[in-house]
Structure formats: structure tokens, C-alpha cells
Symmetry: C2
Subunit: 406 residues, 2 copies
């Protein structure tokens, strides 16, 4: 008899985005003429940079002739892309990351979801709250948690990200083995200073823990004192891996390209305490279960690193940051406590009321869609997330409507 992995039954059905869709549907039906502005989902809205489009077309043309056609590429990604990443994203920041430590993939969602496979079952795992649900759900599926109870999975250690700690979690009082961190944060938009990240790296070094550092929103950092990579912290290459994506950097959410950095120095342990190579393990996993990213997509991603590409992605992220700044200033002027919106496309707003109540009010009175913070975890209750991914004109109109609604 073919028996299922019963851990799937522990998964709390994720109703967040379907609930949002239902409420929008109901509202639209009752108000057919309403012009709804969506500032909910974290998806980009603007075209791919011109330079990426050109490289994309050129690579598709290569696929049209036998003598320039590309079949299977290296699972880890082509050198042309890995070399540029190492040079421009890491060497330029004074870190020692090299091209052979970069694993190109089709998405950070996949990589953050799959990475836990490399580890033992009985780990103490720390996840932020509020949290990007993939970190949690993939560990539930793998059987590393207990049941869902009072809004949390038993057996996980939740790292509260709250006003009191500026949405950068405090070091845990107990010894954790695996820690998920995300900065600039989704959903709060908070960033971690060098001192704060150093504390986490030192904690990991001391406890032989591993940090899974999600830097998918790094392209929005404008304050140069904020670390862009965790490897800017000394010793991090021994205790951290880093996830990066072209999704938000260059508008690749529908194009699909990302990468994960696994330093060769990174130390993990077998049960007898021997040091093992995480790099070898991820390489084996990647080559066994993945067949590389589409060649034309890798060429499009490479174009991000050209001189013109750098100008264009800066322009692209600047556009969203202008939106974010506008939203932040307006919401603050309305009297709300906010974080993010600066070095981040997300604004995390303390609504001083139930998250869904605030959501419903904005929808019905301003026809603006946000995301209720409670959908990201217990610590998100009372908050909403507003995203800067829309046109500036729509953002301005949304703020005008909210001004009248509240």
C-alpha cells in the first residue's frame, strides 16, 4: 500500500492569498464600477531592463541554429554568469566569495525550500515571526515540527520581530542549530545593521549553528552602511549560506533566475562531530535533482552585470523605492507607526487594530488592497504590509484615497 508522508497533514492550509482574492471578488461583485488598486502581492510590475531583453533575444537566436545551439548546461550554471556574480555582487563588497561557490537556480523559493534536505531531522530551528511561509512549511513537510497550535508549529523556535527590537530578532536564549534570517525583510521591510548581523554570525560560530540568509531584496538597499551580503561580516563564510534572486533586482519574477552561495569554508557536522562539506552536499543535491536554468534566461541575467544593465536595474529599483518612500511618508503623516519603505519595497504598518479589519476598511473605503500582517505569523497581527510594486500614479492615487478613508 502506497502510504503518504503524514507530515503534510500538519500543514495549515494557507488561506491568506485565497482569502484576499475572495474578499476582493465579493467586493468587486457588489461594487462593479470600483477601480481597485492592488498594493498587496510582492510581484514586480515593470518591464525587464532593455539590456536584458536584448541579451535574451540574442540567446534565443543562438538556439535557432545547430552550430550555436545549447543543450544541457552545467547544473550549477554557466561560468559566464557565475563569474560575473562573484565579481560584481561579492568581490566588489570586499568578500572572498568565488564563482565556484555560486549555484545558479530557477528561484530562491526553490532554494530556500530545498536547502533543509541536507540536514538531520532533529534540529532546533529558528524562524522569524512574521515569516516568509516557505521556511516554515518546508520544515513541516520534512517532519521537523510538531502540530499547529495557537498560531504556531510546535517544535519550531520563533524569532519575534517586533517594534521593541526594531523588527530585527534578538539572539535566542537557547542553542539553535539552523536559523533563517531575511534582510531586507519580507514582510516588515526592516534591515539589519552590521552590528546586528555580526551578533548573529558570532552566535552561529559559537554554537556551531548555520544561518540561511535570504537576501532576495538586497537591490533596494541604498544606505551603504547596511551590509548587502552576510559575507561582509567576518567569519560568516563558515556559518552562513546566502540566497539571492534576480526577481526583485531586475524584474525576473516571471523569467526565473536566482542563485545560492555556499562557501567552501562552510562547516556542518556528522553525528560523530566530524566536519563535513556543505558545498559538496549541495552540489550533489543540485546535480541530482536539478538540470540547470534555461540558457537564454542565464544570458538575460548576465546582462544585469553589464555597465548599461547596472544603470537600468538601478533605475528600476529606484522607481519602486520612490513609491515606497511616498507610501511611507503618507502613512506616517496619517499617524501610523511604520517600518520599511526605506532600503525596501515593503512598508509594514501598525494599524492599531486587527489586521483583517484594517484590510477590509482599506478595501471598502479606499478600494486599495494590502496584505494583512497576521497572514505572516502571530507577530504580524495588528499590522498590514503595503507593497511599492505598482505605478507611481496608482500609488499616489491610493494614498489620496486612504487619506479620505481614514
Amino acid at each position: 500500500m502506497i502510504q503518504i508522508n503524514e507530515n503534510y497533514k500538519k500543514l495549515k492550509a494557507s488561506y491568506l492569498f485565497s482569502d484576499i482574492a475572495k474578499r476582493i471578488g465579493k467586493f468587486s461583485e457588489e461594487n462593479p464600477s470600483a477601480q481597485i488598486i492592488k498594493l498587496g502581492i510582492g510581484d514586480v510590475t515593470r518591464a525587464l531592463p532593455r539590456t536584458c531583453i536584448e541579451a535574451f533575444h540574442k540567446a534565443v537566436d543562438e538556439m535557432s541554429a545547430d552550430n550555436s545551439f545549447h543543450g544541457y548546461g552545467p547544473e550549477q550554471g554557466y561560468s559566464f554568469l557565475r563569474e560575473k556574480i562573484a565579481e560584481m555582487d561579492f568581490k566588489s563588497r570586499g568578500t572572498g566569495i568565488t564563482a565556484d561557490e555560486i549555484f545558479v537556480s530557477d528561484g530562491s523559493k526553490c532554494d530556500t525550500g530545498n536547502f533543509q534536505e541536507l540536514f538531520a531531522q532533529d534540529l532546533k530551528i529558528g524562524v522569524p515571526d512574521p515569516v516568509y511561509p516557505v521556511y516554515v512549511d518546508t520544515n513541516v513537510m520534512a517532519g521537523r515540527t510538531g502540530e499547529w497550535k495557537d498560531g504556531r508549529y510546535q517544535g519550531l523556535y520563533y524569532l519575534d520581530s517586533i517594534e521593541e527590537n526594531n523588527f530585527v530578532p534578538d539572539l535566542p536564549s537557547e542553542k539553535l542549530d539552523l536559523i533563517y534570517l531575511c534582510f531586507p525583510n519580507n514582510p516588515t521591510g526592516s534591515v539589519a545593521t552590521k552590528t546586528q548581523l555580526k551578533a548573529w554570525v558570532d552566535y552561529a560560530l559559537k554554537n556551531k549553528a548555520l544561518i540561511l540568509f535570504d537576501a532576495a531584496y538586497v537591490a533596494f538597499i541604498r544606505d551603504n552602511s547596511i551590509p548587502q551580503s552576510i559575507y561582509e561580516i567576518e567569519g560568516a563564510d563558515k556559518v552562513a549560506i546566502e540566497f539571492r534572486s534576480f526577481s526583485k533586482t531586475a524584474g525576473f519574477t516571471g523569467t526565473r533566475c536566482a542563485y545560492t552561495v555556499v562557501p567552501k569554508n562552510c562547516q556542518v557536522y556528522s553525528s560523530n562531530g566530524n566536519i563535513e562539506s556543505l558545498h559538496s552536499m549541495w552540489n550533489r543535491r543540485h546535480c541530482t535533482k536539478f538540470n540547470g536554468v534555461s540558457y537564454p534566461v542565464q544570458r538575460a541575467a548576465e546582462a544585469v552585470y553589464s555597465a548599461q544593465g547596472q544603470v537600468e536595474v538601478k533605475e528600476l529599483t529606484d522607481y519602486y523605492l520612490k513609491n515606497a518612500k511616498y507610501i511611507l511618508e503618507k502613512m506616517q503623516s496619517f499617524g501610523f507607526k511604520c517600518t520599511g519603505g526605506d532600503n525596501s519595497p515593503y512598508i509594514w504598518i501598525n494599524g492599531q487594530r486587527d489586521s483583517w479589519e484594517f484590510f477590509d476598511m482599506l478595501l471598502s473605503k479606499a478600494q486599495v488592497v494590502c496584505t494583512p500582517g497576521s497572514g505572516f505569523g502571530k507577530c504580524g497581527e495588528g499590522y498590514i504590509r503595503i507593497s511599492a510594486f505598482n505605478s507611481y500614479e496608482k500609488v499616489v492615487e491610493a494614498m489620496e484615497r486612504i487619506a479620505k478613508a481614514i
Copy 2:
């Protein structure tokens, strides 16, 4: 302390293709003027169909303007592609598979590797021998096997594919829970008749087992009496899922698009014997750990189903089949017992000697590269695989050289 998944240590390092590369390297060094012809790896060599290229370009253009840009798509794939697949690959063959049972992905390697996650740990698993290593290695990583011993993993049930059964494994004498089958087969090139597949489906129905049916090479079937889909067998929708890929069908090995069929009828069980929905489980897995296939790639795949696309992919696979037929006839005329080469791009050749000895002889005397069958499992010893993925001219020359060499 961050402890590893110790099952990774059980993995036998896969030296097959690196061993091949080393031997080629050594030979080339000693014979710098040798013109080596590679008929080893299973990778296509010819350009993407013209229709796919046009659709690909058009979709890249859509990504270049805000009003036609595509961000995140549905994780399961766009309807435009899923509908065509259901219509052209399944309804046309008299099966009841519908669009919402199709999950588009970036590769069958990923899907065949990931699917085991949905199941319990203590399953009786059947894998063919010789075998596509992904089926085995992913179960080793997941901890479903014992150690490697005498060329096999303990705890797996190997389904011998040998001359005596025409390389279609016999039904097992014991009750298996999960069975991997692949037809047209990689590496043997064998196909299963309707009667043979029906026996497997009936076995699965009787034993409440699940068949993971890999049909990556279906586009090479020309004999219309051979089932293209396992769903042509009555009852298969209750006990089988099917993997398909555009890699070999339309030359997408470097472009990346595939799909998996999980019928809503497909029954799996929880430990108390309750029926559970495999479709819901895979949907949950897919949405949690995957973010959809690149939009332009899905448009390129869709083009395969246009009238012109169908002509072009037929032309493409015909080309390789002509190579395969030529190789088969020649190798038979040299006195070798062969299978495949007909309804398949692979020819599986009984060399009447050690696989590596045959490999070395072909390399040194004919400068032709094949794949030693022993790399695919114990039952592959004594065989080599020759692949039809090369130009016709090279194939002809390779056979001429082999004629002189033996």
C-alpha cells in the same frame, strides 16, 4: 550543532560521466589529431523548432513593455499550455486527463527526483536495473535505502531488465508500494506493449501500489500499437502518475520545460488506510517549493502544439530516429545483439564483454564515444548504450570506423 542528513554518505559517488571524460581526456592528449565522435550522452544537438523560436521571441518582446509584462505566473503553469497538453497529448489518445491534472515544471529530472517527498519513509520501492540514477539516488538521500553493497543499495527492489524479458521487467514476486517505470526506456531503448503495461497497472491496482511512469522519450514512438501514455491502460489514472518533457520531444534540454500528470483519481493512503488525494499533495508541494516556469519558455513550449510545431517536432525526432535505425542496422550487421533504436533514440548493445573494455576499444580504435552500460546498474554490465543524438554524417562515419575497428 548543525548536523547533516547522514543518508548522503550512503551515496556512491557517481563516477560514470567523469570517468568517461577522463578517459577521453587521456586519449585526446595522447592522440591530439584524433577526431572523436561522441555518441555517449543523451543530449540533443539540433536547433529548436522554428515555430518555438518565433513564439519565444514574441514572449520576450512582451516582457519588454509594462503593459504586456508577465510577473509571477501560476505555479502549475499557464492555462494556455496546460490546455494544449491535455488536448493534444492525452485527449487525442483517448484518455480522460484534464488540464488541471497537468503540472508544468522546469524538468522531469526535478519532478522524478522530488516526487518521492510525498510518501512515507518505509516503502517497498521497485526500480528498474539498468536505471536512470535519479530514481535511486533521491531515495537514498531521503533515507529509504540501506548501504551500497555488491553494486546495489540494500532495501531497494531491483527490477531486472534483461534479454530474457526483452528489457521489460517481470512483475515482482512480492508486494511493492512504489514502482518506477520508464518507457521508451533510458538506457535500453525498450518499449512496453499494451499487454505489458496493463499487467503493471493491474498489479498496482491489486496491491494499492503507485507507478511513477517516466515517458520522457515518448516522442520517438512510431509504432501506433505501443501506448504513448500509461493512461491508455484502463484504471491507470488510479495508480499512476506520468512524467513528460519537452527536452527530447522538441530539443528543450537547454531551454527547460516539462510536465507531470497527477490524475485527481489517483489514490494514496494514510497509515490508517484512508484514501488521500495525491493531486492535492503534489499541488501543495509544487506551490510551496516552486515558482513556475519562465513565461517565454512556456510560450515556446506551447508552440510545439501548433500545426506547424507538430510538423517540426516530428521532423526533429524523425532525424534522430533515422540515425538510430542506421546505428541499429549497422551494429546488428556487425553481429551484435541489440535492442532499442526503434521507437527510441538509444541503442543498447550486448558487447559480449566487459562494458568498459568495449568502451575503451571503441574509443581507441574508432575514436567513438559510447556509454558503458555498467554505469546504469548491475544488469547493464556487458552492454553499451549508443545514442542517436548527433548529425547523420557523424553517425555514418562512426559506423564506418567501428566496422573497421572490430
